[in-house]
């Protein structure tokens, strides 16, 4: 295909991505470098306060008021602050004081403690902490669970496979906000799970009021939501496993488990890494369960932190700083995938 034809084919798509994805990425860098506020001034306001008998007294008060421009709109002042927003977001001061804290005998222990305090107290670090916990707990679980389900489904008769695939697709395809809500209503105080446990005499649980349980519920949601993805890919992969080596292994007396371990798993290795890479990318963006469970205090995510700062604190500059840090995280996660694609491309040529 000629280069000019190529360009005319890709132009609409590339333009839309440039304007609505690439440009915003530049814009957040710009936004993060500034701080804005409404310009205020102290104005003397004279009011006539009625006294008795129709007499009045003039009272002068100093009231802060926004400065108006000629059109009568309040003036927004944009002040260049450089990297200050970013520094505030990652709390460089707190970090350096944690690093330089007392260098005495207990230094390792106190250093670790200072670091933990830092993670707990600074919004960004605590959000990153749970995002990483979520990502690196769910990834191995969904791969193992998905693989187990794929093997089990593979044993079913043709007629039963369809319904299993159908049901398995639901947690993944249904609107994430809705599926988070569905799980939330199971675990809410007085919801079916808490009520059942209470009725069975196991005890009273308030899943959403404790850091450990709410984190466990969110991780469980993550597994429930993403295992189908691993399942579908691995199930399709199982259909491509060649029969000859397996038959040879049976002749050699390999047990079913050995056949899985030494033939099936090596054959599916590329798929395991694809699933891990895509899932890590997606779970870094975890948002809906945090929003729906209202778990910001106990379990936050970098994406929800940015959303909260943007929507509820209405601070675009601080939100931009968080957004930049989020993007940096994505890029770090993407490097292995990019290297892989690059190698594939070279091999293809």
């Amino acid at each position: 295909m000629k280069r000019s034809t190529f360009i005319s084919f890709v132009a609409p798509s590339v333009m839309s991505m440039l304007i609505l994805i690439a440009l915003p990425l530049v814009a957040i860098v710009y936004l993060a470098l500034y701080q804005s506020y409404t310009q205020m001034e102290i104005k003397e306001v004279k009011t006539e306060v009625p006294l008795f008998g129709g007499m009045t007294r003039e009272v002068i008060r100093n009231v802060p008021q926004p400065v108006m421009d000629d059109a009568g709109n309040p003036i927004q002042v944009w002040e260049y602050v450089g990297t200050q927003n970013l520094k505030n977001a990652i709390d460089t001061e707190g970090l350096s004081s944690a690093f330089n804290a007392d260098q005495n005998i207990n230094s390792t222990r106190s250093f670790i403690r200072a670091l933990f305090d830092e993670i707990r107290d600074v919004d960004f670090w605590s959000a990153l902490e749970f995002t990483l916990i979520y990502t690196f707990l769910t990834t191995p679980i969904i791969i193992i669970l998905g693989f187990g389900l794929a093997l089990a489904t593979n044993r079913l008769t043709e007629r039963l496979r369809g319904p299993v695939v159908f049901v398995t697709l639901l947690p993944m395809i249904v609107t994430p906000v809705v599926s988070s809500l569905a799980v939330y209503w199971l675990f809410v105080d007085g919801g079916v799970i808490a009520a059942s446990l209470e009725a069975m005499g196991i005890g009273k649980f308030y899943f959403l009021a404790d850091q450990f349980t709410i984190r466990a519920v969110i991780v469980a949601y993550g597994v429930w939501y993403a295992a189908p993805f691993a399942f579908i890919i691995l199930y399709a992969g199982l259909q491509t496993v060649p029969e000859e080596p397996i038959e040879a292994a049976i002749v050699d007396g390999a047990s079913p488990w050995q056949r899985v371990r030494y033939i099936v798993i090596p054959h599916l290795t590329p798929l395991f890494s694809v699933i891990a890479l895509i899932h890590i990318m997606d779970s870094y963006r975890v948002f809906e369960p945090i929003l729906v469970f209202g778990s910001r205090v106990f379990a936050n995510s970098v994406q929800y932190l940015t959303y909260y700062t943007l929507v509820f604190e209405d601070n675009i500059h601080k939100a931009s700083a968080y957004a930049i840090l989020t993007v940096l995280g994505v890029v770090v996660l993407l490097i292995p995938i990019m290297i892989r694609t690059f190698k594939d491309q070279k091999a293809g040529k």
């Binding site: 295909m1 089990a152 249904v174 399709a236 397996i246």
Partner: protein, 279 residues
């Protein structure tokens, strides 16, 4: 792979595990459907009841009194236009990317991959001040064009995988017969691409339909989509009655998806495996 012959105990354990997953996968939806048909007292009772009087009051209230039909209409307009526009643009780009040998093509794909991984809130942070300044807040066009752009990276990758499967001899034959590239694309390639286009369209639809983050922020009031409108029923300090309406709303959003999965199960599976399994 043919399943191995296992002894009866192992076989039963495996089947039991599978049925357990079946239940776990369904339970949240099953329970949501069940309590949406109840009065609040029965929905959140201790101990929970499996059987309770059925009422459609929650659905009547949310669709009629709360005007959920308006949000459903918005969702229909936004998703339908988004799917058509996304597919048109992505098909052209993906076709070119599958046939072009130069290095810009490769870098474009890499860029698309980075864009696909971008958390949407990053984009929203920039949209908020920009769209407000431009005065294009809360309009169909705005949301549609944003969703189309967000759809592009993903759709390009998926469609490219499908176009790669169509032999290049097909376009070459058309070119030899005197077609231009555009004619070859529309008259020869598109007709054989329909299954791939339907699959990619499903995923574009799901992205637009399921989006909460962008839709809830770009549209407000009567312009909300269904998913975004659900936001006003959420939160731990809502009254029980309002919560019940939210549950009815959530069920209303789920039903079209369930129908979709039922009808297009094969296409969804093929779309998910298109990129991963083959390459």
């Amino acid at each position: 792979m043919k399943p191995a012959n296992l002894n009866i105990v192992t076989h039963s354990i495996i089947n039991l595990g599978l049925w357990f997953w079946f239940l776990v996968a369904l339970l949240p939806f099953f329970w949501m459907f069940l309590i949406s048909l109840r009065v609040p007292v029965d929905a959140f009772s201790t101990p929970p009841k499996l059987f309770a009087p059925v009422t459609f009051e929650n659905f009547r209230y949310i669709w009629v009194e709360d005007g959920f039909w308006r949000y459903a209409l918005n969702t229909t307009i936004v998703t339908a236009v988004t799917v058509v526009v996304s597919l048109t643009m992505a098909c052209l780009a993906a076709y070119a990317l599958s046939r072009y040998r130069g290095s810009i093509g490769f870098w474009l794909l890499i860029a698309a991959m980075v864009f696909r991984a971008m958390p949407h809130v990053v984009l929203l942070t920039a949209y908020r001040p920009a769209f407000f300044e431009l005065g294009i807040w809360s309009r169909y066009e705005t949301l549609i064009i944003v969703l189309v752009a967000i759809n592009q990276p993903f759709a390009i990758w998926m469609l490219r995988a499908f176009f790669m499967n169509i032999p290049e001899e097909l376009d070459e034959a058309a070119l030899v017969d005197g077609c231009t590239r555009w004619q070859a694309f529309f008259r020869v390639i598109v007709p054989v691409m329909w299954p791939g286009i339907v699959t990619a369209g499903l995923f574009c639809f799901l992205l637009a339909y399921n989006d909460f983050l962008i839709s809830s922020q770009l549209m407000n009031g009567d312009m909300s989509t269904m998913t975004a409108a659900l936001g006003s029923y959420m939160g731990q300090n809502q009254s029980l009655a309002r919560l019940m309406h939210g549950i009815a709303g959530a069920v209303s959003i789920t039903i079209p998806i369930i129908i979709l999965v039922f009808v297009f199960q094969k296409q969804i599976v093929s779309g998910m495996t298109a990129g991963a399994v083959k390459g």
